[in-house]
């Protein structure tokens, strides 16, 4: 077996071990369950509300949008936070000190994040879909759409997570990226259709992946009549692939450069420095 192949397989195993660890850790379990709890609360307040211009349950429209947002969050935030944290605590330096360790580390992270996304999707989808009416998740094509949108969403957002995770040397500063992301969620039609928003705001939302992931998930899980309330009265799969694909390509070009630059700078003394800083914060 070639060394790179061995490292890739070790990385896949690493991802599975770390995924298993997330199921036995209270903090991680809460992170899995929190979106579901939050959504059920939102759903409670949406009771009786309908998608404007239709008599379709607004809650049932929100569920797929939220799943779309969840893809973006998992891809971007989970990877970003763990890169920033594991750079601080020296995990990355260890990876650098072993042959092909960086490759194994990245493969491990991809497996871990994909696994966490699948788990969180199931955790949100199962209880919610039982409480909601009007979802069209019975056909195989619906599930197929759900899966490819999810995969494309990960490819578009994971490199962004890697880039941001490499740029912040202090994991506590990585939180600043959450502010603009929350802003984007607000204008991306996750909780309410954006057809009624000003055109310039719609324009901004359509540059970023969150809107398209919400749309993609709606196209998978809602009856086709609901496309009528979207921009252009269509699910716009072609445009979606275009925008997400563009983010993916841009990310995949930039991420290796940023990752390599970040990895090159790691050394025992840089980790020791960050450790000292972190210790000072604690005391």
């Amino acid at each position: 077996m070639s060394p790179t192949m061995a490292a890739a397989r070790a990385g896949a195993l690493r991802g599975r071990i770390e995924l298993r660890q997330t199921f036995t850790n209270p903090q991680d379990l809460w992170n899995y369950l929190f979106p579901t709890v939050a959504f059920l609360v939102v759903l409670f307040f949406m009771k009786g509300a309908a998608v404007p211009g239709t008599n379709f349950n607004l809650g049932s429209r929100t569920l797929p949008s939220l799943l779309g947002m969840n893809v973006a969050f998992t891809g971007l935030v989970t990877l970003m936070m763990s890169l920033a944290l594991e750079r601080e605590d020296g995990t990355l330096l260890r990876a650098k000190a072993i042959p092909n360790g960086m490759l194994g580390y990245l493969v491990g992270k991809l497996v871990l994040v994909s696994g966490m996304l699948l788990a969180s999707m199931v955790i949100i989808l199962v209880p919610s879909s039982m409480m909601l009416s009007g979802l069209a998740l019975t056909s195989p094509t619906a599930w197929l759409t759900l899966l490819w949108v999810m995969a494309l969403g990960l490819v578009a957002t994971l490199p962004l997570g890697a880039i941001f995770g490499s740029l912040f040397s202090n994991p506590r500063n990585a939180g600043v990226i959450m502010m603009p992301v929350m802003g984007l969620v607000a204008i991306s039609g996750i909780f309410y259709p954006i057809a009624s928003f000003p055109v310039w705001l719609q324009g901004i939302a359509q540059v970023f992946p969150i809107y398209w992931l919400g749309l993609g998930m709606r196209s998978a899980m809602l009856p086709d009549e609901l496309a009528a309330v979207e921009i252009g009265e269509s699910w716009r799969h072609l445009e979606m692939v275009g925008v997400l694909g563009a983010w993916a390509i841009a990310g995949l070009v930039v991420a290796p450069i940023v990752l390599r630059r970040m990895a090159r700078r790691e050394s025992g003394s840089s980790v020791a420095q960050r450790r000292e800083k972190a210790m000072q914060r604690v005391t």
Partner: protein, 322 residues
């Protein structure tokens, strides 16, 4: 006979340079901005040798080690680690090195044996007939004394146990060259003793070891050769004994006569004791001769260097003001 010697000599030298040197550093320099941290470091290490790098804080020990590990770019000079320039070392080269890093809280949720077994996977393709890689995980856990904790979560280990795990991670790939940066910081005396045994065992298996430490007693026990790095350059290179002889530091002689204690410092301990017996003979009891320890030698050398530098600075100042 002499003719044969002469013919052999140059060939031997070439062989030394190509095969028998694991580590070769020539005129290594490092500058951060306008500060020179390393101003010309020179040394070599041969297979199976344990070399200790000593020096005060800020002398450039960590910088030197990080350059050799390939984690830091140098400003100038020639460096060959296992025959490769670490600035251009590939994964094949990386697989032959071991680096013991100071851990903090990484891999906290992993279990000891699980992590060692996992990290070993990366080394398996680099196994050769001569060196079987990786180290068998149970043997490795045993070798670092972590068998009772093999299935413990890493964040539940004590500081000393974590440090042993760091060492285990450093040697899991059976390195030909091992870097140890302050390996026994935070060890209790028993753990320290066990660690020293492990280092001796590694050295017996032809692992070359470069270590830094602040514990001079440890350096004296472990190292075949000691390098003292002060002010960005190596000011001494030799065995602990050789360094002691070079510094001709004083030995301390203690004895008692009729229950009264005496202490005397002398350069010529043997001569002094001979004289002592000549004078008092059987009245002498509790005789003790303590040669200069590495610590004394180290202190003397660092002090000499620093006062030398101060003198040079004064001379320079006088020249400028003249």
């Amino acid at each position: 006979m002499a003719v044969v010697d002469e013919a052999d000599a140059p060939a031997r030298e070439v062989r030394l340079a190509e095969e028998d040197v694991v580590l070769e550093v020539k005129d290594l320099r490092m500058r951060y901005g306008t500060t020179d941290v390393l101003t010309g470091v020179n040394f070599v290490a041969r297979p199976g040798e344990v070399v200790a790098l000593l020096g005060p804080n800020g002398a450039g020990k960590t910088t030197t080690i990080e350059i050799l590990e390939g984690f830091r770019m140098r400003s100038a000079g020639e460096v060959a680690v296992l025959g490769v320039d670490p600035a251009h070392g590939d994964e094949n080269w990386r697989a032959r090195l071991g680096v013991v890093l100071q851990s903090w809280r990484d891999h906290g949720r992993w279990r000891v044996r699980e992590l060692l077994e996992h990290l070993g996977l990366y080394y398996a393709p680099y196994s050769t007939d001569r060196i079987r890689r990786p180290w068998d995980v149970d043997e490795l856990v045993e070798a670092v004394g972590l068998t009772p904790h093999a299935y413990k979560k890493i964040n539940k280990l004590s500081g000393g146990q974590r440090r042993r795990l760091d060492v285990a991670i450093g040697i899991v790939g059976r390195p030909e060259l091992l870097f140890l940066d302050e390996p026994t910081a935070g060890f209790d005396p028993e753990a320290r003793r066990e660690f020293h045994d492990l280092v001796h065992r590694l050295a017996d298996e032809e692992t070359t070891i470069l270590l830094t430490t602040h514990d001079l007693d440890e350096a004296e026990k472990l190292a075949d050769r000691i390098l003292i790095l002060v002010g960005g350059t190596i000011i001494a290179d030799g065995s602990a004994d050789a360094l002691a002889r070079r510094m001709s530091t004083e030995a301390e002689v203690k004895w008692t006569i009729d229950g009264q204690r005496f202490v005397h410092s002398t350069l010529d301990a043997t001569g002094f004791v001979r004289e002592l017996f000549g004078k008092y003979d059987t009245a002498i009891a509790d005789l003790e001769v303590r040669r200069a320890s590495l610590e004394d030698v180290y202190m003397a050398m660092v002090h000499e260097f620093e006062s030398g530098r101060a003198d040079a600075a004064i001379r320079e100042f006088e020249e400028v003001t003249r």
